[in-house]
């Protein structure tokens, strides 16, 4: 891959437009399969509804559960699912099936960095799938569920930064799991496992502080909390001062670590490829 960067390419106007072109193509694909995109989004709503109704019934009895009030909890549920939907199940499937079906060879012969290509594709698709579903969820949140505004303007700014870091964190996690498809053909099973682990450890299904005792410390320090729990915590103003710095620092450190791991992992995975009938 280093050959690509050292070869002077006259026609290519630089690195960014190449990856941008890939992102735009991915976005166009998401438009082409828009019924799919919408159905995927609605499928996500079922658990939002389940959680909403369950917690509503619970808060009818009491004003506070853990550190949550009812308005904080419903804000949490909506934002959590909205953020987790930025990179949805279909996106993860696409990454895995490219490996499973052998379409990956196209990426392998491209004179581009595979990790960055994939990030560009996921970001492109997310602009459509993710942002559409996030917008619907937000509209639902403001119109029907009445979510809280960010705790402060400062929290709002940090929230946006934290969401961006969380997005790349989820991408890297899914990317690393997808690489396992070089060794197994059961992409669906891997995808379910990935989804379940993210749903629990990121704090999407239940806020981390309410998790059962044995699971809480794991979720507390795992990189996955950066996908949901950290940004939503920032939004709600749950952490301040030192705690806030610690949370964002943890999120950023995991991001760097995961990126390094992913960058080293894919060239190894590429060596495991067997082309049938080649």
């Amino acid at each position: 891959m280093s050959a690509a960067t050292s070869t002077p390419v006259v026609t290519s106007p630089g690195r960014r437009p190449r990856y941008l072109a890939i992102a735009v193509t991915a976005a166009q694909q998401a438009v082409a399969y828009r019924i799919n995109t919408v159905a995927g989004i609605i499928g996500n709503f079922f658990w939002i509804a389940i959680l909403y109704y369950l917690w509503r019934a619970a808060f009818a009895e009491t004003t506070r559960i853990g550190s949550f009030t009812w308005s904080e909890m419903r804000t949490y549920i909506l934002l959590a699912f909205g953020l987790n939907a930025l990179i949805g199940f279909p996106t993860a499937s696409r990454m895995m099936y490219a490996i499973r079906t052998g379409d990956i060879v196209i990426d392998m012969v491209r004179p581009l960095n595979y990790l960055r290509t994939q990030l560009a594709q996921v970001a492109g698709a997310a602009v459509l799938e993710g942002v559409t579903s996030f917008t619907i969820i937000l509209a639902l949140g403001i119109g029907v569920v009445q979510i809280l505004p960010p705790a402060s303007p400062f929290a709002a700014v940090l929230f946006v930064i934290s969401v961006a870091m969380g997005f790349v964190t989820k991408f890297l996690f899914v990317f690393l799991v997808a690489l396992l498809c070089f060794w197994t053909i059961n992409a669906v099973g891997l995808n379910w496992a990935q989804l379940a682990v993210v749903n629990v450890l990121s704090g999407t299904l239940v806020p981390i502080e309410l998790l059962p005792g044995w699971l809480r410390p794991v979720a507390e320090w795992s990189p996955l909390r950066g996908i949901v729990a950290t940004p939503v915590g920032v939004y709600l103003g749950q952490d301040t001062g030192w705690d806030l710095t610690l949370m964002l620092g943890l999120q950023a450190s995991w991001l760097v670590l995961l990126w390094t791991a992913a960058d080293r992992a894919w060239p190894r995975a590429f060596r495991a490829v067997e082309i049938q009938g080649g």
Partner: protein, 272 residues
């Protein structure tokens, strides 16, 4: 007349058993993939159980349902769903088969196309869902100190069989769309199939829209909730609907059969 029908039924049952066993055996062949599938499926449902554990550690009961009562619903739903994945998952291949023109092959064989399509896939990972569902259901009923009479055992068996037929029929209904909309990629059937998630929790929690959906449109409520009203002896104005479980299942099956025939009649092939 009746003896003749019984004879045919036995014939179909034998063919079905042979074909599905073949599929299951083929699926187990890939040992590592089998385990990844089972673990993935179990984790998916395990995540929901983690939520229930977290939720009920803070709240003793919700809408009059305790943690173990909710777990009963969760377990029953998982068992029905897992059995479908193992035994009747073939309908999910319909859209791909139509799209690739492979469906023609089914029509020229001297066997019912519905039977052939049902047996065209066995998702072995369903075994994970069935086992986890059983563990959850049995633990829950044990904790609830359910008094197991013969009638209750029969009632649970009936519920599971009806549940399997119900989720199979609805997945047929969702996938038959392939006759009208033969794209291989569609989230629509998955979305319809996912409505089953609502049946894992007591229906009185939801607003009327969702309740109506899972009672009258896609009656997943009969997989777990309504029969459980009777099993767990819940006081509920809709308790009588529990007894309608076999009726509701039969109704959905008939509608599905009708739509399936409409779809078959409409099928034109892809021009081979």
């Amino acid at each position: 007349m009746l003896t003749l029908d019984l004879h045919r039924l036995r014939f179909y049952a034998r063919i079905y058993a042979k074909l599905i066993l073949l599929q299951l055996r083929a699926a187990v062949e890939y040992r590592a993939d089998f385990w990844i599938g089972v673990v993935g499926a179990v984790l998916m449902n395990g995540a929901g159980l983690v939520f229930i554990a977290a939720f009920f550690s803070r709240i003793p009961a919700v809408a009059g349902w305790s943690a173990w009562e909710v777990a009963t619903l969760y377990g029953l739903t998982m068992i029905a769903y897992g059995l479908r994945e193992m035994l009747c998952d073939g309908i999910w291949t319909l859209r791909v088969q139509i799209n690739r023109g492979e469906f023609d092959r089914l029509l020229v064989r001297p066997l019912s196309p519905a039977l052939q399509i049902v047996t065209s896939l066995a998702s072995i990972h369903g075994v994970g869902n069935v086992l986890l569902g059983l563990v959850v259901f049995l633990t829950a009923t044990h904790r609830l100190e359910l008094d197991w009479t013969v009638a209750k055992v029969l009632w649970v068996l009936m519920t599971v069989v009806c549940g399997l037929i119900m989720v199979t029929a609805i997945s047929f209904l969702a996938n038959v769309i392939g006759f009208w909309e033969p794209g291989t990629q569609s989230s629509f059937p998955f979305m319809v199939s996912n409505v089953v998630e609502f049946a894992k929790f007591p229906l009185e929690l939801y607003g009327w829209g969702i309740r109506f959906l899972v009672t009258a449109v896609l009656p997943y409520g009969f997989v777990s909730y309504y029969p459980s009203l009777i099993l767990l002896d819940k006081e509920n104005p809709l308790r009588w609907l529990g007894y309608a479980t076999p009726l509701a299942t039969a109704a959905v099956t008939f509608v599905t059969a009708w739509v399936w025939r409409k779809g078959l009649a409409r099928y034109q092939g892809v021009g081979h």
